[in-house]
């Protein structure tokens, strides 16, 4: 605990990042108490009203309060991003450990397959999968988790490669431990550091990817106040009521930057 408070004081980036993300998490969690209006209620104010004391972020074309929608919108993104990252982390770590521990042809096969998958842009892969599977929140989580797994697997593999050569791994083999025991109980705890950094970077990208999918109409469906959906449905107002697009866009940016500041801070700590 003392080391955490120490690193907060020595790393302002980490502190700011944590603060930014915490604000979003808290407001999203307590949305019914924080938000001034119902997120989907139409006509709570005039249509496309500019930001004012009554409607801090203005209103959209249906007279919905954008501040309330942005606050509630955090609920989608902050559920989808951690869930999909966790899925990617578990899958990717297992694949990476298997490649590093198996070495030889197993490593080759796994890594070349991952290279092949990563040759496609993430959004294209996600698009393809969601078109086949149909769009739902659960499917968005599954798809983002699956496309992140290869990236996390590469980090896990490179960190594990130096570990599997160490003598404690040979000692475990010499007492007859099974492959899974060695990978999960012996090696995995020692690659925790780089994996935490990678997972935090992925969290930011997951926010971004889920917003992109919402924007493309493949994620959460309107009228839900998902940030990507909000940008998409108000994009025709960009010239007349730019706040309707800017507010959710800035929200996305704030969360992504928050996560990436945390990731940088963790990496600095890791390298000390």
């Amino acid at each position: 605990m003392r080391s955490l408070t120490r690193s907060l004081t020595v790393s302002p980036g980490l502190t700011i990042g944590l603060l930014m993300v915490t604000v979003w998490v808290v407001t999203a969690a307590f949305a019914p108490w924080v938000a001034p209006h119902e997120p989907t209620a139409m006509g709570v104010g005039p249509q496309t009203a500019a930001p004012s004391w009554g409607y801090w972020f203005g209103t959209d074309q249906y007279g919905r309060d954008i501040l309330s929608r942005v606050i509630y919108g955090g609920r989608y993104v902050l559920a989808i991003a951690p869930a999909s990252t966790l899925l990617g982390l578990i899958l990717g770590t297992l694949i990476g450990l298997l490649a590093a521990y198996g070495r030889g042809w197993l490593d080759e096969v796994i890594m070349r397959l991952l290279d092949a998958i990563m040759a496609f842009p993430i959004v294209v892969l996600a698009l393809l999968a969601l078109t086949v599977l149909g769009s739902s929140t659960l499917n968005v989580i599954l798809v983002i988790g699956l496309v992140f797994a290869p990236l996390i697997a590469r980090t896990a593999r490179s960190a594990a490669l130096t570990e599997v050569r160490k003598e404690y791994v040979e000692a475990a083999r010499l007492r007859g431990e099974g492959h899974w025991y060695v990978m999960v109980m012996e090696v995995a705890p020692n690659i925790r550091g780089p994996l935490m950094v990678e997972a935090t970077i992925r969290l930011g990208y997951a926010v971004f990817t889920s917003a992109t999918l919402g924007f493309l109409g493949l994620g959460v469906q309107p009228p839900a106040p998902d940030w990507g959906v909000m940008v998409s449905s108000s994009r025709s107002l960009l010239t007349t009521a730019p706040w309707a697009v800017l507010a959710p866009a800035l929200a996305i940016a704030a969360v992504v930057i928050g996560f990436s500041l945390i990731a940088d801070g963790l990496r600095d700590r890791e390298q000390q």
Binding site: K166, E167, Y168, A171, L174, R175, G176, E186, P189, N190
Partner: protein
């Protein structure tokens, strides 16, 4: 008296760790005169490298000089401008560090790296600088400098790299070389060669040296006088002859008695051990820092600081009762005879392991008996560790077999049964990597006892305190993580782990080579005691022949994957021997003084250009026409000793009648 080149005057240095200033060097006064070679010895953490760094003006940011002064030829470092300091590093003082591989730039040729020093420091043209670089390489006794100038660091051996680094240090014609563990990373025979080079440089160039080493043998072989450091202080300083013959500080005396002499087996003379551990940085008591571990400490020692006192004009000791110091050998406990060897436990038969088309092991046949230690010696690349891995099944041999208690074992570890694993265990070299950094000692050791002892979780955990006690560790070690233990403590845990299932044979792969001498003595003692109690067979891999002489009953000498010689330890060390064994023995620093060298200049031989005959032929001082083409016959000069050599017994090096 002339002005000393380097002077430390009552110097104290502290490091900032976790917000506190901790003293690392305390009240050190030492000077190096022109042309003089001074040794600075001590165990890890004693402050010797900090002192060397301070002398070069290279203290890290978290260090601070608390008191005292450092001067180069009378000029204080504190008042020197950065530009002036930069100039003096090079023309007055230059440094050579432990690892030559990291001192050289892998992207530049050797020629470029040396010549740029001449261009920068002396303003020579590129062509003149290259000529100067070539002359410099000749100075460090490199036979064909032309070829070396065009090479990249990775293309040359470690010994050659270290010579290049020395040449670079000499390029600015410094008066003083600071050598920080310059031979620690090198093989024994190459070490001997580099040490001989230091002697030459001293004679030919008159360059003074400050040699920092944990190895008292190296310091004894090279230096005029030496200072011994303990817990940041110089505890004793004297000319080396006097220091080793009549130490006047109990720490020096204990340290000398911890070092295997290379002349006796443990059943004739045990090594001393120093109880306890040195104080942590900045956590020493008020009195003498060594008092808590000192065999002759009295009440007065703990009460007030002890100053360095001069006993005569060359010998000083930081001890209140210097005359109480035991004479060399006086700290060694009485020896007890060992038990006789039993049945054959572990055997290898014509074992072959290939790697990328090269035979790393080329038909190795060996056996180890119950209660016996067979040492396996040879330079790096000889296949020692590969043999250990093939015996334990971590590497699957391409041909040949491994037998345990007369039963042939499957080649692969995975295919062996649990009772085999229990009976055949291994202790690894690196105290850093032998334990899992994420696991506490208790659960880790408990897991080994459970898997190898065939016990349940609770029963295994209940045995942990007892097993820790067997390797002389406190019960609360169980709650620690490896990072909280010293190297010696970690190696003890690794030994307890290998002994978890009461093994019949244990392979020890350089188990003490990364440890300080006093810790090494204690670990060797522990291994001997365990073996005497349980009758375990040891295969002890080591490059340190003095350690081998101490612990081994028999010795096998490996060269490029083939056994050159096997025999009882006393026959190998004092009877006739294989020419390669003779070369290895000549590399023991103080052994060489008593035994005239038969050494040929070692040339690195790649495993690829191995002749069909004896693999040592291309390097052998006794080479004959048939050596390269005919496999050598086996000579048996004494019972149990087999030498694979074309030389007839009476022409082999060493003495028949010793």
């Amino acid at each position: 008296m002339t002005t000393p080149l380097l002077t430390f005057n009552a110097l104290s240095i502290a490091f900032r760790r976790r917000g506190e200033w901790r003293t690392a060097v305390h009240d050190v006064s030492l000077s190096v005169q022109p042309g003089e070679t001074v040794g600075l010895v001590g165990e890890s953490g004693c402050g010797k490298s900090t002192l060397a760094m301070a002398g070069l003006g290279y203290l890290p940011d978290n260090a601070r000089i608390l008191a005292g002064e450092i001067s180069l030829t009378g000029e204080s470092l504190a008042t020197m401008s950065p530009a002036r300091l930069q100039q003096r590093r090079g023309d007055t003082i230059a440094a050579v560090y432990q690892n030559p591989a990291t001192a050289l730039n892998p992207a530049l040729t050797i020629g470029r790296q040396i010549s740029e020093i001449f261009e920068y420091q002396k303003g020579l043209t590129a062509r003149a600088a290259m000529t100067a670089a070539k002359a410099m390489l000749e100075q460090v006794r490199i036979a064909n400098p032309e070829q070396l100038l065009r090479a990249y660091p990775y293309q040359i051996s470690g010994g050659m790299q270290q010579r290049v680094v020395i040449a670079m240090a000499l390029a600015g014609e410094p008066d003083l070389l600071v050598l920080d563990e310059p031979t620690t990373a090198l093989d024994a025979s190459i070490q001997a060669d580099v040490l001989a080079l230091f002697d030459d440089l001293r004679r030919d160039l008159g360059v003074a040296m400050l040699l920092i080493s944990h190895d008292l043998g190296v310091v004894r072989a090279v230096c005029d006088r030496a200072a011994v450091m303990y817990a940041g202080e110089i505890v004793e300083t004297a000319p080396v002859g006097e220091l080793f013959a009549q130490p006047k500080h109990p720490y020096t005396a204990s340290l000398i008695d911890c070092i295997p002499t290379g002349h006796t087996h443990w059943s004739h003379e045990r090594l001393a051990s120093i109880p306890g551990y040195p104080p942590a940085l900045g956590e020493r008591g008020a009195g003498c820092a060594f008092a808590p571990r000192c065999p002759v400490a009295r009440a007065a020692c703990q009460q007030q600081p002890v100053a360095l006192a001069w006993l005569n004009n060359r010998h000083a000791s930081r001890c209140l009762f210097p005359e109480d110091t035991a004479a060399p050998g006086g700290n060694r406990p009485p020896a007890t005879p060992g038990r006789p060897a039993g049945e054959r436990v572990l055997e290898s038969d014509d074992l072959v392991v290939g790697y990328k088309g090269v035979r790393v092991l080329d038909g190795v046949t060996l056996d180890v008996r119950a209660g016996e230690t067979l040492a396996l010696v040879g330079e790096s690349g000889s296949g020692k560790s590969t043999l250990a891995r093939a015996l334990t099944g971590l590497t699957v041999p391409d041909a040949g077999s491994v037998r345990l208690d007369g039963t042939a074992l499957p080649g692969a570890q995975r295919k062996r049964v649990q009772s085999t694993r229990r009976a055949l265990q291994m202790v690894f070299q690196s105290p850093e990597n032998t334990l899992n950094a994420s696991h506490r000692i208790g659960p880790a050791l408990g897991r080994a006892i459970r898997e190898l002892g065939g016990l349940g979780y609770r029963a295994a955990r209940a045995l942990v305190p007892e097993r820790l006690a067997q390797v002389a560790l406190e019960a609360d070690t169980a709650n620690r993580r490896p990072a909280q233990l010293s190297g010696g403590q970690r190696q003890r845990v690794a030994i307890a782990r290998a002994f978890a299932g009461d093994p019949k044979a244990v392979i020890l792969d350089e188990p003490t080579s990364a440890l300080d001498v006093s810790v090494q003595a204690a670990v060797l003692d522990l291994l001997i005691d365990l073996q005497q109690r349980r009758g375990t067979a040891y295969l002890f891999i080591s490059h340190d022949l003095a350690v081998v002489r101490y612990i081994a009953d028999r010795v096998a000498v490996l060269f490029l994957g083939r056994i050159m010689e096997v025999g009882p330890v006393e026959r190998i060390f004092s009877g006739v021997r294989h020419p390669y064994t003779a070369e290895l023995l000549a590399a023991i620093p103080d052994w060489a003084q008593d035994h005239p060298s038969t050494q040929a200049a070692p040339v690195m031989t790649g495993a690829r250009d191995r002749p069909p005959g004896c693999p040592y032929a291309s390097r052998c001082a006794y080479v004959m026409p048939q050596c390269a083409n005919e496999p050598p016959p086996v000579r048996e000069p004494a019972p149990g000793q087999q030498i694979h050599c074309h030389l007839p017994i009476n022409e082999l090096p060493g003495s028949l009648y010793e």
